[in-house]
């Protein structure tokens, strides 16, 4: 189908906008949008979030790339998001291809399409996105007339399930990657060489994984035998990209004029986490721990507020309490914005009274509740997952929170950890009841408790990457127990649908064959899998039947430590040896210390140590390494 030009697309879109919900999602034109002259710029990049505008606009990764790419004189970056169902129907009816918000150009008219895939449940949306662009889904079916399709984001640390559809993945931190990719793209375009040469050149960029340059062989038992490059340009293993020193955060953020999720400024204060919780994907893949200096954060907050006028900011990190100068930061911001009716949120606080002091300094008006994530309720489970807090510590903190005036506490627990029994789950009930009793003592009937129950899904590149995910029946039994016992005045509980857990667990440790399951699931109508109301289990079950793959193999099978895992050629810096050691310690119920205190030789310094930033402000949190550990 010939592409429509942007003027025509604009006209066609205008005609359908008043027939959809929230047309403001599809028109762009927001403050801080960058529109460069299309005809004069050689390389055009579309940055896409494969969910609707409301979710995608606040994505910080894309905001970083948008600023970075538009700062290059010969590159332009425009944005696109998936249309919601009503808009998609009308677009398909009128043959309107997916278009960019800035200039209404069809996405297929861009040179490069960069897609952020932070979670697995965006995979079918990614296929739907390519389909809406009228671009062949399979990488092998595309040619030099098609845009180059790049993906990155947390779920791409196991790129294999999406390997058939994506031309190149950026593994690791995206800063600088898209600029390098557009440079390589420009050189290739100027040379007029075949598309294969572009792929080979891309494989030379640090952190870039070109799946078509690798071949996967399987054993008779369906496990992976080996994954090896089939071209000399492809490295044996792909090491993730790491910024030795975090660059200043983006501050010219898009200001939406329709309401969105996370309608605020986000400033990342620290990347990585030294806690080492064994279930935590983010904690493993984002090492080493790097902080931004207080001065830089404060400057960024001021600049972002000047540029946007947002009335709320969030300071982001995996564990705010571990930011070394957190008191100073909070004090400074609290004083600076005292009279400005600015809401400052500080997520991921440790379970200790110091966290309450921090929020008090931010003049948190206590209406939103105080959130804590103990994850497990028994010492045995806490040792297994390596999150050592005691129940008495939790109860003391809870007492402080209620007595200092917060009416609501939110507690997050995760069920389904390896070897968890119903007894461990019952302890969650006991602990929550004890928490509620604290609330009653301090506040009487005004106190309330919200309990969020998520279900553990084993993730690639974590110490639990080998373990079997709980069976659906086990999960249901645990949730059922919680539902029947964890109730009472003031207590609210919500939980993850076990079907969604199953779905996530198929994909998170999938191999390259999983691509056909994703394809068929999409064909069967799966999309917006992240939206509870739209999750379509039967589309997935049918897809497994159509491909002859066994779901059990992917989620309930205990892997051998020696097994070649589908993502073994992707290196996150943390070694497989370390992960195996952590897994063994978990089974023995042994804790591992916070690695900002004692280095447990995870392997990061072995690979990235040479680039370690040692200036005082940007020093990594890794303690000095003992000789023996190298």
């Amino acid at each position: 189908m010939p592409l429509l030009d942007n003027t025509l697309i604009k006209e066609m879109v205008e005609k359908i906008l008043l027939r959809v919900q929230k047309p403001g999602r599809y028109v762009g034109g927001e403050l801080n949008q960058v529109v460069k002259p299309w005809e004069q710029i050689s390389t055009k990049v579309a940055l896409v979030f494969p969910d609707i505008y409301d979710i995608g606009v606040s994505n910080l990764g894309l905001a970083i790339l948008y600023e970075e790419l538009n700062d290059l004189p010969d590159v332009l970056a425009e944005r696109a998001y998936l249309p919601w169902l009503d808009m998609e129907d009308l677009m398909r009816q009128d043959n309107i291809p997916l278009f960019s918000l800035e200039s209404s150009h069809a996405l297929a008219d861009f040179d490069v399409i960069g897609i952020s895939i932070p979670y697995e449940n965006l995979n079918t949306n990614t296929l739907n996105l390519l389909d809406l662009c009228c671009i062949p889904l399979y990488s092998r079916e595309r040619n030099s007339n098609h845009p180059l399709i790049i993906a990155g984001g947390h779920s791409c640390y196991n790129p294999e399930p999406m390997a058939d559809f994506i031309d190149a993945f950026v593994i690791g931190e995206g800063e600088g990657a898209m600029s390098e990719i557009s440079g390589v793209y420009q050189a290739w375009k100027a040379s007029g060489a075949p598309r294969g040469e572009l792929f080979q050149a891309l494989a030379g960029i640090s952190g870039v994984y070109v799946p078509s340059l690798y071949e996967v062989a399987y054993n008779d038992d369906h496990t992976v035998k080996r994954i090896q490059p089939i071209h000399p340009s492809a490295p044996l293993q792909v090491n993730k990209r790491v910024c030795a020193k975090l660059p200043p955060p983006p501050t010219r953020l898009i200001v939406p004029t329709v309401d969105i999720v996370h309608n605020r400024v986000s400033v990342e204060i620290m990347r990585g986490c030294s806690r080492g919780c064994r279930f935590c994907h983010a904690g493993m893949i984002n090492r080493p721990v790097r902080e931004r200096p207080v001065e830089e954060v404060v400057r960024a907050v001021e600049a972002a507020l000047d540029n946007t006028g947002f009335e709320e900011i969030a300071l982001l990190s995996l564990s705010s309490s571990d930011y070394r100068r957190i008191s100073e930061l909070v004090q400074t911001l609290g004083e600076k914005f005292e009279d400005e009716n600015l809401k400052i949120s500080l997520p991921s606080l440790r379970i200790e009274s110091f966290s309450i002091d921090l929020l008090e300094k931010l003049r948190d008006h206590r209406s939103g509740g105080f959130t804590l994530a103990p994850e497990a309720a028994t010492e045995r489970m806490r040792n297994i997952i390596n999150k050592p807090i005691t129940s008495s510590q939790l109860l003391e903190t809870v007492h402080e929170i209620y007595s200092r005036g917060w009416l609501t506490i939110k507690l997050y627990f995760m069920i389904g950890h390896p070897s968890e029994t119903l007894e461990d789950v019952r302890e969650i009930v006991q602990l929550c009841k004890a928490v509620m009793a604290e609330g009653r003592r301090s506040l009487g009937r005004k106190a309330s408790l919200h309990v969020g129950i998520s279900t553990f899904v084993p993730k690639a590149h974590t110490p639990f990457q080998w373990v079997a995910c709980d069976q659906k029946a086990q999960i249901e039994e645990k949730i059922c127990l919680l539902k029947s016992e964890l109730k009472g005045p003031g207590i609210k509980m919500n939980w993850t649908d076990p079907d969604e857990t199953m779905f996530e667990s198929w994909l998170s440790r999938g191999d390259r064959r999983m691509g056909s399951v994703i394809y068929y699931a999409w064909k069967n109508g799966a999309k917006f899998d992240a939206w509870q109301d739209h999750f379509n289990l039967s589309a997935w079950q049918q897809a497994f039947e159509q491909t002859g793959l066994e779901p059990y193999f992917y989620n309930h099978r205990q892997r051998e430590i020696e097994e070649t895992l589908p993502w073994d050629h992707i290196r996150i810096g943390v070694s497989k040896k370390f992960l195996a050691r952590e897994y063994a310690k978990s089974q023995a119920g042994k804790l591992t210390e916070d690695c900002s205190q004692v280095c447990s030789a995870c392997g990061i310094l072995g690979i990235y140590g040479a680039s370690r930033e040692t200036s005082v402000d940007f020093d990594w949190k890794c303690p000095p390494l003992k000789e023996a550990q190298l």
Binding site: V255, T257, D259
Partner: protein, 207 residues
């Protein structure tokens, strides 16, 4: 405390931002402009501002009004320059005047709104004069909107079919009193024009 009335145009993509979301657009504009806006009291202090006569989604406007309250006594010119500098794409400031604190809210002062509907394909060359005349000569025009019957005729104060080189359009002056607000898309439907086939602009608020 001082009260200022801001006259502005709403254009381009901002026409897809509804009245409720405009509240945030203004709050952020005021914050960027560092204007000493008055906040309401209470648990969730909100900047004190008041928009007149909600503009239907999808329509641009050449004549919108916003009242804001400031804690400091600023020259209207200074308010204008600060707001103009901070305004997002789609807001064009025309003028700012200081008004009496005691004036009733703009909403209660507005009598009618004038709209221009530029007709798009397939209506750009259709002669609508006969249907316009038919509408004007009707004694009543019973219609149903959101399951409620009402009479459109008394809400249409003036209606005019305009034909020009650039395409045809409809000018309408509709009642905009509380409880008696004529909607341009209802008039278009009455004329047999699908409202998505017209680009409508509010051209005047009559106080």
């Amino acid at each position: 405390m001082k009260r200022y009335r801001i006259h502005y145009k709403k254009t381009s993509a901002l026409r897809y931002t509804g009245n409720l979301d405009m509240q945030k657009v203004w709050e952020r504009t005021i914050r960027r402009g560092k204007l000493p806006v008055t906040y309401t009291q209470g648990f969730h202090p909100q900047p004190r501002l008041n928009q007149a006569c909600p503009l239907p989604l999808g329509m641009t406007s050449r004549d919108e009004i916003l009242d804001i309250w400031l804690d400091q006594d600023l020259e209207p010119a200074e308010v204008f320059s600060k707001m103009a500098k901070a305004a997002p794409p789609g807001v064009e400031l025309d003028r700012v005047e200081e008004i009496e604190l005691s004036l009733p809210s703009i909403q209660t002062r507005i009598r009618s709104s004038e709209y221009m509907a530029q007709l798009l394909s397939p209506f750009e060359t259709t002669d609508l004069e006969p249907v316009v005349q038919q509408l004007l000569s009707a004694g009543t025009l019973p219609r149903i909107r959101r399951n409620k019957p009402y009479d459109l005729r008394p809400l249409v104060e003036e209606l005019e079919f305009l034909s020009s080189e650039g395409g045809n359009s409809i000018r309408m002056l509709l009642a905009a009193r509380e409880g008696a607000t004529g909607r341009p898309e209802e008039v278009l439907e009455q004329l047999g024009v699908d409202p998505v086939c017209a680009r409508v602009e509010r051209t005047k608020l009559v106080l």
